[in-house]
Symmetry: D2
Subunit: 371 residues, 4 copies
Amino acid sequence: MSGSIFGQLLKISTFGESHGEALGVVVDGFPAGVRVSAADLQPYLDRRKPGQSAVTTSRSEADAVEILSGVFEGRTTGTPLAMLIRNTGQHSGDYDALKNRYRPGHADYGFDRKYGFRDHRGGGRSSGRETAARVAAGALCQLLLKEMGIDCYAYTQSIGPVAIPQKAGEPVDRQLITKTATAMPDLEADRQACAYIEKCRKEMDSAGGVAVCVVEGMPPGIGEPVFDKLDARLAHAVMSIGAVKAVEIGDGVLVSESTGSANNDAFLPGDGGRAAKRTNHAGGILGGLSDGSPILLRAHFKPTPSIAREQDTIDRDNNPVPLTIGGRHDPVVVPRAVVVMECMCAITILDALLVNMSTRADRIIRFYETS
Amino acid sequence: MSGSIFGQLLKISTFGESHGEALGVVVDGFPAGVRVSAADLQPYLDRRKPGQSAVTTSRSEADAVEILSGVFEGRTTGTPLAMLIRNTGQHSGDYDALKNRYRPGHADYGFDRKYGFRDHRGGGRSSGRETAARVAAGALCQLLLKEMGIDCYAYTQSIGPVAIPQKAGEPVDRQLITKTATAMPDLEADRQACAYIEKCRKEMDSAGGVAVCVVEGMPPGIGEPVFDKLDARLAHAVMSIGAVKAVEIGDGVLVSESTGSANNDAFLPGDGGRAAKRTNHAGGILGGLSDGSPILLRAHFKPTPSIAREQDTIDRDNNPVPLTIGGRHDPVVVPRAVVVMECMCAITILDALLVNMSTRADRIIRFYETS
Amino acid sequence: MSGSIFGQLLKISTFGESHGEALGVVVDGFPAGVRVSAADLQPYLDRRKPGQSAVTTSRSEADAVEILSGVFEGRTTGTPLAMLIRNTGQHSGDYDALKNRYRPGHADYGFDRKYGFRDHRGGGRSSGRETAARVAAGALCQLLLKEMGIDCYAYTQSIGPVAIPQKAGEPVDRQLITKTATAMPDLEADRQACAYIEKCRKEMDSAGGVAVCVVEGMPPGIGEPVFDKLDARLAHAVMSIGAVKAVEIGDGVLVSESTGSANNDAFLPGDGGRAAKRTNHAGGILGGLSDGSPILLRAHFKPTPSIAREQDTIDRDNNPVPLTIGGRHDPVVVPRAVVVMECMCAITILDALLVNMSTRADRIIRFYETS
Amino acid sequence: MSGSIFGQLLKISTFGESHGEALGVVVDGFPAGVRVSAADLQPYLDRRKPGQSAVTTSRSEADAVEILSGVFEGRTTGTPLAMLIRNTGQHSGDYDALKNRYRPGHADYGFDRKYGFRDHRGGGRSSGRETAARVAAGALCQLLLKEMGIDCYAYTQSIGPVAIPQKAGEPVDRQLITKTATAMPDLEADRQACAYIEKCRKEMDSAGGVAVCVVEGMPPGIGEPVFDKLDARLAHAVMSIGAVKAVEIGDGVLVSESTGSANNDAFLPGDGGRAAKRTNHAGGILGGLSDGSPILLRAHFKPTPSIAREQDTIDRDNNPVPLTIGGRHDPVVVPRAVVVMECMCAITILDALLVNMSTRADRIIRFYETS
């Protein structure tokens, strides 16, 4: 109830600061019987870890995930999985000058007002580094979603003014997502985006961008009416990622200028007794429930607030002071944030699937008759 | 946990269908000692109720709110307030033809897949009519927020291509919000928007639009780190309103093309020992905590899916069938949805303020020493 | 989160005061497709309603339950069921003398300290009358439990010194529970208990007693490890009934003087591949999970604190004052509380069954393949 | 929502198995600014750790607690504290013979039915060893409760037939609790209890007992009406400890044979404008709210189910088999469980105090005006 726990039946509880001992997560409510080892999760963490390319921070962290509980003979037991990621590459001294000054665009001021003081080293708990724990939890969920035939993936759609040619929902080259430095599934856009990022860096500035998440193979009817609509929970999940300032479902901001006749997706007879749709303006969610079409989300990330050029700010005593941020920072967060968004969606989707099981009396009765 | 309950310390539990007996809400955790009567809440419900102007449905409902519990001698008791809004103007027969057909853009198909059957009359529980109960709860929260000096208000920014001249965050004429048919705080824009809506209606079509919510007077440091960031909870709250397909905080989608130097809001010394900011690109929330500047949210509403022209769809047996929707429908939902957005934000803000009280040991100790 | 909501996947949210307009409950998360009408629920409310016999208060209330939402064409829709019970027999004037005095054994003093003031009429929200709403919710759960072959029932084991001959777990004559004034399944014990109650009443005093709840047909493995053990949740549910001061599972308080060799229940081969047990000291729950044997709970109810003889107390200004309680009061609460205990157990059991469905990956995968 | 998370505003999330890598807990919602180090917590863990005396298991574990997050410069930051306790003394081979056999009195059968398989080594997640993580969290809460002037402590009242001379609520010699092998605050009773335990052990048997928890200095009005009554939450907390089969508040099971005139506690004028009570049959809780008198709870623990003598049971294929349990086991759990009970009560009490802060509008307004 106080910030670092997420989920309904599947609850993740994260902890850890940028420059503390370790980051980690306890996953409560993950189903029993899923094969898992640290090696299955590590590739997800590797997509997020720093120091991989010219477009990320040079802070070096192995981000090696260790499973402490909840797995027996290679399978999840149904009881809590705790996962730990030790911090190894902290340079806490880089932050001494920031102890009493509020970095623009960061949570420093709010933390001081809320808690009376703060761990100023690298942002402490408000660091983007906390997302490593989310990725560990999300990677776990991905393993079970795959067994259920549900494919949840994310990629970079644009960085600054450079966008890939495909709109959200159009097929992309999945192989490229993990091969390009920007997580863009397009080599030419990646090249241009890298150049743009390099230009920002030279100007002691930073870039923003847009990430897309797609969920294919979703059964229809998932999500709960009213407040726990699937899109509301996904928006919550994705907006909880530090730098996100806007979330769109399907056609998103474009719907406000569309008309009903253009925006409605006509239903067509689909396979296996299911409905299909002629278009997917809705992004796979109608009235808060999945409709069987691919779910499409877009998240807009702000430019990294830690920039090298001098900025105006105040200190703890409310005096104006100049601020120069040293340390090692990402010139753009999107390439590393893509897997965080994917993982937050995977967690939310799996949780919604679990909650949905208790919806119908006939299925509940059959479940207990056959189990 | 299953859809119709929202909040952490302040929990609202809503019920009711479009064509059932009544709509209502139970508010649990609302503080004791707030003066309230049905008359204080009714103006909020009146802003949402149908049949007010040419740009809303002609369904006529008094939407009179009745307080059933939780108030004694004119003040809240601290125990649950139940509020009831009787349905009076149902024409259920209008929906007989839709019983076995799925309306495009609606939750019909999802409901059938999820629950095995559905109350097809006016959308049942998935009707926008359920938001009347949210407004009753939000109106109550507004009473206490006002006593705390927090001003939460919403208005229409655009309908289709017609926008008011002010950007989000710029001052508007508050008086006009409740005087114009569109809830736009600008007479000329209202006139043009009404003309646009009329054109859509004549073409048997519908319109979308954008609503803005502003929260002024917010103390800094409200919200919880990581998953319960204030913007994440607001996004959840606002995206849970039926027709919303995108939520933006501050500069929203524009941030992805901005740079750090342009997007960062420099801190300045403010009054009373608090920080001020030179700009407010962040929309009053940094790292998930309020920063003391006005909170700015925008929600993008899709065009009403119920349109008069014939559409293609399927029936329950997966056969293609034509669909003509009779009944009485809003040609655009934004003018009535503005107060729903305002109320969802008021609920979320008050809840966050309550949760924040337990944050600091020194304040907790003082609280119990002095109470 | 603030007192009047109970449950995990199945959440009930109650409201109403003893002398307010109405009592009621919203049930969120109740499965779709269960046949229900007010007539199905009324018999449960009738077991609790006042004025039925010489051993209950003479306050007369019809306690007629009205279903406001969540039912369509006679079946639950899967969306919230709201149920209302109007108050009709209030004599609020009876309580004027108590406005500024604290009744011993009641919550008056705590309410004043907590909320700053209180609805003093009949105890307001702290009245036992709020349990009518629990009974409406529990009666609903009983309908589905019966369809699942789970039989949850409660009866009076003792009143003051008068006990039925059977120990908890031994077969009783179920027919008698609803026929005797005391809800004892034994005519002779009922006769003696009525005489004892009458003696208490003549002495301007009141009686306590013990109720038993039994749950038969429970599948094994229900409940969650650690904090959400089935017995922990049942203890929470039953201890939340106003007058309960002790809860026992199985042999209860006797276990502390037993030994492992006597207290352990040996496993035996059972029918249908399930285990049986030679004895049931554990009361059907081992390690917090059901073991397939009948669940046995006992609750100890204190004597009604509202007694006719004069008592010592203080007023709001901390002055000693005498207190004489007028009005109409039960000389013992157990006969009417039995159905409340049964209903709280039914709610808890059904909720645990729903939560348990998401436990195993293999069953989840099969659930979605076949639905 | 799935078993290993407890609390409302203060949430603890535990993990770990008897023979896994480590046990641990994440505490979310703990207030900022409390001085804490591992050395402050270790004494609580030492009271629970095995191998301390002749009346406990000979398994040797240091149970050294490590703080991984949430503390900066010696004070809690308000963000999650993760604490880790490494397992070091596992002898997993002791359990090989039990892999396919269900130990009477244990959760083995339930776990297999629920999850399809189980970590059979020492009971896995159902081991009493998981309570070490609860103690770490509870020790933390004790630090803040002490700063608030609230004294929460527990001791052994009886083991088998041997009881201390004092009834619950009567003063005991606090120093002795941590000095006697049984946690009894009485040297003679301790001596007799040790002899009784030794007799049980020689007979290849085990003992049960009763523990008491007392909370002094509690402000009145804490707890929430209806479902979140303070006694209901305490009963939940204490019944969630593995071997507990009954929970009593105040006079507990005795109330059922008492009368209203004897059981009611008369109010008297107290100090500082607060009420006092002539007696404390209620155990400090009336109507679910603290009344300012000491809170008194009793928990009845069953005899350790792991006994050395041969028992009858079945295997996974439902065949009758004999069972002999090797390994190292406590002949009685109460001496080590006392601190677990104390810690669960401390967690519950602190959580209730935090939730209570948001109860009154006047206090909320003043809180924000002065902070």
